[in-house]
C-alpha cells in the first residue's frame, strides 16, 4: 500500500505528466470551443426549411428504396448492380431534417466522430505517459533507488504498471465525462440534441467503453516497450518504426506482391474494428460469389470487435509479459 501511495505521488508529480494533462485539456478545450463557436441554435424558420428539404429528399429516396427492395426480391441484374449492397443504406428513415441545417451542432449525429477523436487523444496521452513514466525511472536512477528500498522487482514493476493504468483510466473516465457532457450541453444551448434513443446511448456507451479499454492497452504497450528498451525513446521508436515500416511500407510491398488482404495484417484495422465495433475492408483479389443475376462481385469482408480484442489484447499481454520477464533478470545500472 505504501508503494502504491508513493507511486501515485511520483506519477502525479512528474512534470511530463502534468504537461501532457495540460495539452490534453487544451486539445479538448479547443475542440469544444470551436464546436461552440461554429454552432448556433436554429431559428424556427431554419428548422422549417430543413424539414421541407428533408421531406423532399425522403420522397426521392423512397423510390430508390423501393427499387432496391424489388431488385433484392426478384434478383433483377440491372437494378441489383446499381444498388450494390444493403438497401438500408438508401432507406428514407435515414433522412433527417438536421442533415439540412448548416452550422448547427447535432449531438446524436456528430458525437460519435468526436468520441473517436477523444479516444485517439487519450491513446496518445496514455502511450507517451506510460513510456515516459518507466523510461525516465530507468534512466534517471529512480528505479535503482526504489529497488534499494523494495528489492522485489516484480512487485515494484507491477505496482508501477498498476498505478499507471489506474491513473490513466481515472483521468480518461473524468475527461470522457467532461468531454461528452460539454458537447451535450452545447447541443442543448447552441445546437440540437437530435433524437438520441436507447440504441444510440448503448452504441455510444459501448464505443466509449471499448475506447477506454484501448487506451489502457496502448498505455500498457508504451510502458512495456520502454521497459524492454530501457528508455522512453525506445517506445517512441517502436511506434514510429511500426507505422513507417509496416503500416506504410509493408502495405506498399504487399500491394506489389498481390497479397489479397493486406488490411487484415495491419494493426490499425483491428484498432478500428475494436473501437468502432467492426470494420469493412475490401480484398485486392480473390474468389467471390457474384450475386444471383448480377455481375457485381463483392470482395468485401468484415473484421468484428472480438477479433480486434483478441489481437490487441494478445499483443499487449505478449509485450507486458516480455517486459516483466526481461526486467526480472536484468542487470540494472
Amino acid at each position: 500500500m505504501n508503494l502504491v501511495r508513493a507511486e501515485i505521488g511520483r506519477l502525479a508529480a512528474r512534470r511530463f505528466v502534468q504537461l501532457m494533462v495540460l495539452l490534453l485539456g487544451t486539445a479538448f478545450g479547443v475542440t469544444i470551443a470551436t464546436t461552440l463557436a461554429g454552432s448556433h441554435q436554429p431559428t424556427a424558420f431554419e428548422v422549417q426549411v430543413a424539414e421541407a428539404q428533408a421531406a423532399n429528399q425522403r420522397a426521392n429516396v423512397q423510390r430508390w428504396y423501393a427499387e432496391c427492395l424489388e431488385a433484392e426480391r426478384t434478383g433483377a441484374s440491372e437494378l441489383s448492380a446499381r444498388y450494390q449492397g444493403n438497401c438500408e443504406d438508401v432507406s428514407p428513415d435515414r433522412v433527417d431534417a438536421s442533415d439540412f441545417l448548416s452550422g448547427v451542432f447535432v449531438f446524436d449525429q456528430q458525437i460519435l466522430d468526436l468520441t473517436y477523436f477523444l479516444i485517439a487523444f487519450l491513446c496518445l496521452f496514455g502511450f507517451l505517459v506510460g513510456a515516459s513514466y518507466i523510461g525516465a525511472d530507468l534512466t534517471s536512477g529512480g528505479m535503482t533507488n526504489l529497488l534499494l528500498w523494495r528489492p522485489q522487482r516484480m512487485v515494484v514493476l507491477g505496482t508501477k504498471l498498476g498505478t499507471l493504468l489506474a491513473g490513466v483510466l481515472g483521468l480518461s473516465v473524468v475527461a470522457s465525462a467532461l468531454y461528452l457532457g460539454s458537447f451535450r450541453l452545447i447541443a442543448e444551448v447552441r445546437g440540437l440534441p437530435g433524437a438520441p434513443d436507447a440504441p444510440f446511448w448503448t452504441d455510444l456507451g459501448l464505443t466509449v467503453t471499448r475506447g477506454l479499454l484501448l487506451v489502457l492497452m496502448v498505455t500498457a504497450l508504451g510502458f512495456a516497450a520502454a521497459t524492454l528498451g530501457r528508455h522512453t525513446s525506445a517506445a517512441l521508436g517502436v511506434a514510429a518504426a511500426y507505422a513507417v515500416v509496416w503500416e506504410a511500407g509493408g502495405r506498399i510491398v504487399m500491394g506489389i506482391v498481390d497479397v489479397a488482404r493486406p488490411d487484415q495484417l495491419m494493426l490499425s484495422s483491428y484498432v478500428i474494428a475494436w473501437v468502432g465495433g467492426e470494420i469493412r475492408l475490401w480484398a485486392m483479389s480473390g474468389e467471390c460469389a457474384p450475386q444471383i443475376g448480377s455481375g457485381y462481385c463483392d470482395l468485401s469482408y468484415h473484421i468484428l470487435w472480438p477479433a480486434g480484442l483478441v489481437v490487441l489484447l494478445g499483443l499487449t499481454v505478449l509485450a507486458v509479459g516480455g517486459a516483466f520477464a526481461t526486467f526480472r533478470r536484468r542487470d540494472l545500472a
Partner: protein, 348 residues
C-alpha cells in the same frame, strides 16, 4: 552473531555485443562483521561497484554465495532491506523533484515516518536547500541527498559507494564525522572510496579487490603491518661510506639521491652505534611506516610509473585461492593477503 555481510566465491561476467565478454568478479570473497567500519578498496574497474550492486540485488551473479545479516542474498533481501541503507556509485535522482520530495517518496514507499525526512536533511546539511529541484544541486549536494536517503531507515548497515565523491573539503570532513558517529552508535559501515587517507582514518577493517578478486582483507593495522619492512630513512654527510658500513652489518640498504633507506632494522640504536663507531654521524633517522595508499598501490600494482601511462585494467590479478598461491599473514588477526606468484599483469 552472524556476519553482517558474507560473500563467498562471487562471480559475474558481463557480455555485450560490442564490448564482448568481461569478467567483473572472479571468485570474490568478503566478510564484514557487526560494528565494523569496513573500507572497500580497489582500482577503477576492479569490481567494487559490481560487488555492491550484486549484493543489493541490482545485478544478477553468475555464481557464488552472499548473505546479509545471515540471510541469503538476494533471495531474502526483502526481509533484511529495512535494516540497511545504501548508496551505489553516483547518486541518481529525478531532476525535477525537490530533495525533500525525493526523500518523502522513498519514505512513503518504505513506510518511514515523514518526520524522519527533516531529520536526515538536517543531518546531511541540506535543510535549507531541500525544496530546490535536484537538477540544480551540485554533485556534492546530490551526494549528501544520497546519504540522506540511505540514512532514512536508521540502518544497522550502511553501504556507501564513494560517499566523498564531489564533496568539498568541509563536506569530506563532515562525512567522516558522520560515519564515525554512526559507527559509535553501533552502525556497521561498509564504505568504498579512493581517498585512502580517509579510509585509513575512519576504517578499522579493509578489503582490497583487484580485477574481481580479493587481494587483502583484515584489520587495517594488520594489513599495514604486513607491509611494514622495518625501514628507516637516514641522512648522513658521507652517504657512500655509510652505505658500505650498513651493508657490512648485514642490513639491506637502498641509496637515494639525498638519503639512504635501511630495511629489516629491528633496533635503530644498533645502526646508530655501527655508524658512530666508524665516525659517521646521523643527521636524520626516520622510521618509514607504510600507509594505506602505499600498501594499496603495492598490492594492486598500480603505482604510477614515470612515462608509462597506466590503463584502467592495468592492475595485479591475484591467482585464485585454488591455485594455492594465497598467502595468509597474521591469521590470528584475521588478515588475509593474496599475492600473485608471478605478478601477472592484466592482459587485454
Amino acid at each position: 552473531m552472524p556476519a553482517v555481510i558474507q560473500i563467498d566465491g562471487l562471480r559475474k561476467t558481463f557480455t555485450g555485443v560490442r564490448r564482448g565478454r568481461r569478467v567483473a568478479l572472479d571468485g570474490f570473497d568478503m566478510l564484514v562483521e557487526p560494528g565494523q567500519v569496513h573500507g572497500f578498496l580497489g582500482p577503477n574497474g576492479s569490481g567494487k561497484t559490481t560487488t555492491l550492486r550484486t549484493l543489493l540485488g541490482l545485478v544478477q551473479a553468475d555464481s557464488g554465495r552472499m548473505a546479509l545479516f545471515g540471510e541469503p542474498a538476494p533471495q531474502r533481501l526483502p526481509a533484511v532491506v529495512g535494516r540497511l541503507g545504501a548508496i551505489v556509485e553516483s547518486p541518481q535522482f529525478f531532476g525535477n523533484f525537490s530533495g525533500r520530495r525525493t526523500l518523502r517518496l522513498l519514505a512513503v514507499a518504505g513506510g518511514v515516518p515523514p518526520a524522519r525526512v527533516d531529520e536526515v536533511l538536517e543531518q546531511v546539511g541540506l535543510r535549507d536547500r531541500a525544496d530546490e529541484r535536484v537538477k540544480g544541486y551540485s554533485l556534492g549536494m546530490k551526494q549528501r541527498l544520497a546519504v540522506a536517503s540511505a540514512l532514512l531507515k536508521r540502518p544497522e548497515l550502511l553501504i556507501l559507494d564513494e560517499p566523498a565523491n564531489g564533496l568539498d573539503p568541509a563536506g569530506i570532513r563532515e562525512m567522516r564525522d558522520l560515519m564515525r558517529g554512526l559507527a559509535a552508535a553501533g552502525v556497521t559501515v561498509l564504505v568504498s572510496s579512493h581517498i585512502l587517507a580517509e579510509i585509513q582514518q575512519i576504517c578499522d577493517h579493509v578489503t582490497i579487490i583487484s580485477r574481481g578478486r580479493r587481494v587483502a582483507a583484515g584489520p587495517v593495522d594488520a594489513v599495514l603491518a604486513g607491509f611494514d619492512h622495518r625501514e628507516f630513512r637516514i641522512r648522513v654527510a658521507d652517504q657512500t661510506r655509510a652505505a658500505e658500513i650498513i651493508a657490512s652489518a648485514g642490513l639491506p640498504v637502498t641509496t637515494h639521491a639525498d638519503h639512504l633507506v635501511v630495511a629489516d632494522l629491528d633496533d635503530p640504536a644498533r645502526l646508530s652505534q655501527a655508524l658512530g663507531e666508524q665516525g659517521v654521524w646521523l643527521r636524520e633517522l626516520t622510521p618509514l611506516t607504510p600507509d594505506l595508499e602505499s600498501v594499496f598501490l603495492e598490492l594492486t600494482d598500480t603505482r604510477p610509473r614515470p612515462g608509462v601511462p597506466r590503463q584502467v585494467d592495468d592492475s595485479v590479478r591475484p591467482d585464485r585461492p585454488a591455485d594455492e598461491s594465497q598467502i595468509t599473514l597474521g591469521a590470528d588477526d584475521g588478515l588475509q593477503i593474496t599475492v600473485s606468484a608471478d605478478d601477472e599483469r592484466a592482459q587485454p
